[in-house]
Amino acid sequence: MDRRTLIKSGLAAAGTVAMPAYLRAQSNRKLSILTWNIADQEALFKEEFADFRAQNPGVEIEWLDKKGPELPAFYQTQLVAGTAPDIVDLQGAIWVEWAANGALLDLTPYMQKEPDVAKLYNQDYLASFVYDKKNYVVPFYIAKTLLFYNKLMFKEAGLAEAPKSFDEIVNFSQAMAKGEKTGFLTLNFDWLYWPLMQMNGVELLKPDMKTPAFNTPKTMEVLDKLAKATASGGINKIAWTGRWVEPNGAFASGNVGMLQAHSASYFFVKGQAPWVNPDTLGAVQNPGNWSTPTNHGFAISKSSKNPDLAWALVKHMTSNKWATEFSLRRRILTGNLAADKAGLEKVKTEDPLAHAVLLTQLEHTDKMCGNWPLPNDAQVKDAFWAEVQNAVLGRKDAKTALADAERAVTRVMRRS
């Protein structure tokens, strides 16, 4: 029984899904593309589409853009209704689940047919979009975490340079904590806090990718240290409770020593903080050069009626020409080698600090962590993070929290 039949019986509604006009037109050379909260680049996309239409006469392109948290809701509703956009811009690990359940098209055959295409991209970033040896996503724009630090606060506390190890992060934080001032913040959504674990050699899962491997004395020790530093004010509580605005806002206030976040934070902080300049803000790799990526990429829906055309548009939008244009206009790295070179070149003269920040994104790309291709990533993440949060905020001791987390993760794994 196919999916739609079942829904219909559930609805007790007869008839076929009505076909609105835009859908009927889809059968002849029409593409729809859904992007993830990047409506500010409307002008660029319009140009890209016009260029694409010039090369492929008779093609119509429908462009949709949805805000981050709402995109999955929109896409899944469209999927149920059988009207999923041909191309979708996906962030984080959500693509793995969709790919594993057969919603996305395997792009490997296309890449094998045109081996030159894959060479355009940074190989490490491209590889992070592989699940089950198949490539489902092409990089659109990329980022990974780095360590920002407030040089003024470092100086005040008598610290010369950025921390080189996990313990230094904790100790430096303590050294800077005073009154309203705290030493350290990290973003925590998705797995962005994972470098802190990786620095200590903590593993989430055993190599079978099913059994939890994190319930070890080492993890306990790490959580204990984090909890102690949080309780004493070394680590700002927002590190464990905030989302995007709160940690960046707190760091921008100038009262926090370090921020573990990705390059987009730089532009946010700069917008809020008048104090930011190359003498006051440092941007370096995390200790051990570990980082967690948070990338955007294009995937093609399996339900697409024009997969070849969709692939052509994906290639078009991530080509040297348009990726470069995108990189220049948005000050962003695209994963396209030529584009990022040009983009960095331009930023270098305009904003040396932004250049330093963006440069970290292309270095040590072999040390990316916290990006396991898990088909049930969202559930594992939720189950694990809730307990980590309990531990570092002192709501549970590390041992109990880890035991509970192990149970919860095991349960998620068993269910799928």
Binding site: Q41, R330, R331, E350
Partner: protein, 135 residues
């Protein structure tokens, strides 16, 4: 029924001259007037003058128009100043711009932010752009 037919006697006045019609009408009138004004003043003209540190007009300085795009300002176009140091930029497409002037040997001015009430509003700089050096 009496009451209902009775209320009809006011006729069109009742239907037109009440606050549910008058207030929106007033708002529309103001908006329309604003639109008219805007469409008569949106040639994208930016006029100003460039001076050196001693207040003398600078001829041949390059004045650049920066247009706000997302997080940063991007160069849009530039013109050269005339003999009296004045310049005239046409075709400003934005409502949020910056201006800077530079001439080799005299240096570059600071970027002056300018905010407009509508896109391409004609504007005249209140203060001249000042270069740090001597002409």
């Amino acid at each position: 029924m009496e009451a209902y037919s009775g209320s009809r006697q006011h006729g069109w006045r009742k239907w037109l001259l009440n606050r549910f019609v008058l207030v929106p009408a007033a708002i529309l009138a103001v908006a329309g007037a604003w639109d008219l004004y805007a469409s008569a003043h949106d040639d994208g003209l930016v006029i100003g003058q460039v001076l050196d540190a001693q207040g003398k007009p600078v001829e041949g300085a390059e004045v650049t128009l920066w247009v706000f795009s997302f997080t940063t300002f991007a160069e849009n176009r530039s013109v050269k100043t005339g003999s009296d140091g004045s310049f005239r930029i046409t075709g400003n497409p934005s409502h949020h711009i910056q201006l800077s002037a530079a001439k080799p040997g005299i240096g570059a001015s600071q970027r002056i932010p300018i905010r407009l009430y509508f896109r391409s509003q004609n504007t005249k700089l209140a203060a001249p752009l000042v270069l740090p050096g001597k002409a």
